[in-house]
Symmetry: D2
């Protein structure tokens, strides 16, 4: 941590900073400049300390953190890329993994048609929401328990692992019995009680990025799951909120190379929620693979016109089939398969 | 809802939009321009409909919502300003209500000193966190149950209602027995399961704005609580995330007059979390009152240098006392008392 | 334009809106709902009208624009993709065009080495700044006139067209004699006087996106150049400002498919300014090609450690060579060459 | 400047950083931690250096700037608050200065009525745009030269100094003869050639904040004007671009106390452009004064319904009169007059 003193800070103020650091078992190095004094505070654990501890002392101008606040999710902690295995499907290996299906589970026939379509096109994992977090209480909230049972039935019929979103700590146990992967949605990325609960559940977790959270906050949220001993964490970029209004969110394509340098966890991309419009999904999916993503999470609906939720961003079966064929040479161009 | 057709959309495409609307019991008005056709879809419930239902149809360029998606929180629903009463203290009336206290409950002596200080200076409600949502799992997470008991004890001793943050549905019942007001934090504004749960708990709720949520999303989140029959909802502006990095968040001062036009719910402001630095808190508190806020939620600590959480944004007892005196003439200038 | 009246707006207020529209030669269609009245205002020119004209009338709740404010840059105006030709090099055709070179022209040897390197690797156009807009007046401001002369000399020696940034209307004439393409930088995207001046200059223009401008504002800015009769406009996405701080800007990858739908103008991407760090540039460059960009603008320096400006985001000669080889199969995967 | 080395950086890499710093005449202090090495680079001029110089070296993880990049605008450079005097009117003193008038000069009668109205209500300076920077080339661009002449005529008639926006270096000389204060608009805040030109013109300048520029960038832009020896610089906060869409921009109220700590320059606030709607202007104006602004820049039009530009955000004469009366007790509450 670097503490910059105000111009004209007194010797007593500078010493008080040093003493506070020493009282916490930290080392101190003074940089007495002609204009300003800068105090470097050193130790292996400064990433855990609040900068406020020093910022609040008299004569301090600013405090800058050097160590990142996350630890378990860091590549410094675990250098080799992790591969998460789900019923024989790998996420994070050489093969790009595509998870696809409808936004919401609506009926057995809808889900089973979806599974057939996405499996035939090459997707390995089926997505479908049973508990739907909706911005308005008057919107369709999902089939809940019935949706979970449909997911399990279709899982058995098609032999595809399923992923579904968990929205409350009280559902974690039950959902982990019905689903192969639990998804923590964007709006819950900093629901820390839920993160700990899915950590304890011990099953694979897709952690979607909060739509207004930095990469650093995202990796620190992953630490909550990892801290419970669950290392089957898959990150999912899904767009951030910006001023641009021609798309629902702005896919942060740069987060792919940034995460690949900072962390060892697998990273997939959801182009559907980022774009908000089916016509933009293929370009974003291709960009994600070219930039180094390990997989995709795509909304596909047998008949988007009749979808209860997010029909506009769902691909039709034929559009999804075409996209999967178009992704193949791009995956190969970056040394991977799909 | 206004559906703009693409230039050159066919008569069949235009008719399909109209038929979809009629099948939902809505009225349709065609505006056949020379360049473009625009279809107006009318009905009292279009605020609840997803725009996707039309956006997904062939030949549609864009869909614009005219009705707001929120309903119960709207001034159109309930014209007169609401006043929430908590143990004899009113929020939303002529008097500005100040809630103050430490970010986290740390000990009986810390909490009780805090209550003494803020009560003497004119605050009517004591704040203090027992369950602390922290970005890192390695940071202090609050005293939890012990913190709740300290809040109740100090409540009795000083006769001040207390407010504390609830972070999980499983805590709602217990917390509503210990606290007079439940606070839903910024990171949980779209934790819809929690919103419904505090709605059912039936006690007053402070709903903080999600730091990246629009005013419209905030009022729609309030609908979740109101839909359970709980109309004791107090909104709290606490800053939004922007590119500016000289403050922790950017206080959206404009949300005050915007909310006052759009909703009848009382609105308070938290200048402490917005600023992130004690030196900026007084200016923001004054601005909030001048702009029409009904109250303030301010962090005060008997000794910020020793605070376990957010010391840098906490006011000292003397700074808080001075601020309360300085707020008085501003409240009077806008026709209120404090 | 859609004018939503306030609930309870009077008949007089509604009529006043209609009369204002008719006085401007526009058609009006009334949608008298049970709750609200919505007035649709129709005509071929409503994209040019300010929404304020109606917003200011009594009883009006909001005004929504349906027509886009840009016209000349719209695909509705000109359906076929434009191809800009510069000394035999095409931008916007089947071949991906790469423009590369140093951020700033520093010396003859630096520029000439740069040209040699980027030409050998397959770039077709040489970039180099002579007038450098810098955030601080105390930073290196470019070689100015001397830089222009070096650009011309190196142009002749290597037979590569050159692009350089113009920062003031008084430089436009002279720069258009020295350079093959004029670049309008991000900070000048809404310097409308400059846009008109480069429009009148008649030479090809690269219009970089303002780092906080929407796609709609960007295309409307292009209208300024096109309105002068200069249709050799090339758009350049270079990242937008968001809250994310791990990159200098956030490359808005979605703008590529959005622009391709909305406009017929060629679009290139500058991954260097978006990333701000050389290690992230290759992933972004690949993503841009996969998403459908027509070209790239990349910073390359013979020795980034000695660069006077933006060394951190410049590729070394060997990194640039490797990137060009890696881009080849991606270009082919999307049906293009490079 | 603080250079953080990568974990496992070699001794040679660390030494290379130190040598680069010494070659630039800077002092170096090594902080060899157990996990990481951090190199502090010290000197009075590090604010001017690019962080890239070190970021580009092998083994470097990140570089953090401690010194601010601006110098002349800093309170460290000039401690006492500056007061700018314009024909006997002071900006930055105890009295709050209000500048008001129409967005655009439209005619002699409109301008002269405006002057009469705002003068009677207590404004000291008349605003009015002659050269209007508009997002679309098809919108009204201002009366230009004729507008300047009207400003001068009305200035004489009413004895009020006038302020008007300058949009191009070629207009600076002429405009400085017609106007008492030159305004640099938000979209030109980083038009550095224009900043230098108004610096050389030597007359008072209102520098509006770029709507996506940080406070630090804003003060660094002020350095361009100050570096020419022109110290009559007045800063103007006018809202920043965020995701919130209920206002045109988000007034960054926090910038007021932040600027007051960081700089000695006077600071005014434009609530009209921030809000974009007349009904929100009074609340923002009051908040600005309560937070410590030195003045206001407000749009007033004799008849907003007929305004050619920005009618929706213009106050009517009676609304402006009421606001001025309501501001009086707030100014007094913060120890000022108006």
């Amino acid at each position: 941590m670097i503490v910059e003193m105000r111009r004209g800070a007194s010797r007593e103020e500078i010493d008080a900073v040093a003493e506070r650091a020493k009282s916490l078992g930290l080392d101190v190095q003074m940089n007495l400049g002609t204009d300003k004094t800068v105090v470097a505070i050193l130790g292996s654990n400064t990433g855990k300390l609040q900068t406020d501890i020093f910022g609040v002392l008299p004569g301090v101008e600013s405090v800058t953190r050097i160590m990142k606040p996350y630890k378990l999710a860091s590549r410094e902690f675990h250098n080799a890329d992790a591969v998460v295995k789900v019923n024989g499907v790998e996420i994070g290996g050489k093969r790009i993994t595509v998870m696809a299906g409808p936004c919401a589970v609506e009926s057995e026939s809808q889900l089973s048609k979806s599974a057939e379509i996405v499996k035939a096109a090459g997707a390995k994992i089926l997505r479908g929401g049973a508990f739907k977090p909706r911005t308005s209480p008057f919107s369709f909230q999902g089939l809940k328990k019935e949706g979970l049972e449909l997911l399990r039935r279709v899982h058995r019929e098609y032999g595809m692992p399923v992923i579904s979103e968990v929205t409350d700590t009280q559902e974690v146990q039950e959902m982990s019995e019905y689903c192969d992967i639990l998804q923590v949605g964007s709006r819950n990325m900093q629901n820390f009680v839920l993160l700990s609960a899915v950590g304890r559940a011990g099953c694979p977790v897709v952690l979607k990025r909060g739509f207004s959270c930095t990469v650093t906050e995202w990796l620190t949220a992953a630490d909550y799951i990892l801290a419970e001993g669950n290392n089957q964490v898959i990150l999912c970029e899904r767009g951030i909120r910006t001023f641009e209004d021609s798309t629902r969110f702005s896919l942060d394509i740069s987060s792919i190379p940034v995460i690949k340098r900072a962390s060892y966890l697998p990273l997939i991309v959801d182009p559907s929620h980022a774009a908000g419009h089916y016509a933009l999904v293929p370009a974003l999916a291709k960009a994600a693979i070219a930039a180094g993503a390990d997989g995709l999470l795509i909304e596909v609906h047998p008949n988007p016109k009749e979808a209860l939720v997010d029909g506009l961003q769902s691909l039709t079966p034929s559009d999804f089939g075409r996209l999967m064929r178009e992704l193949k040479p791009i995956a190969e161009a970056v040394g991977r398969t799909i």
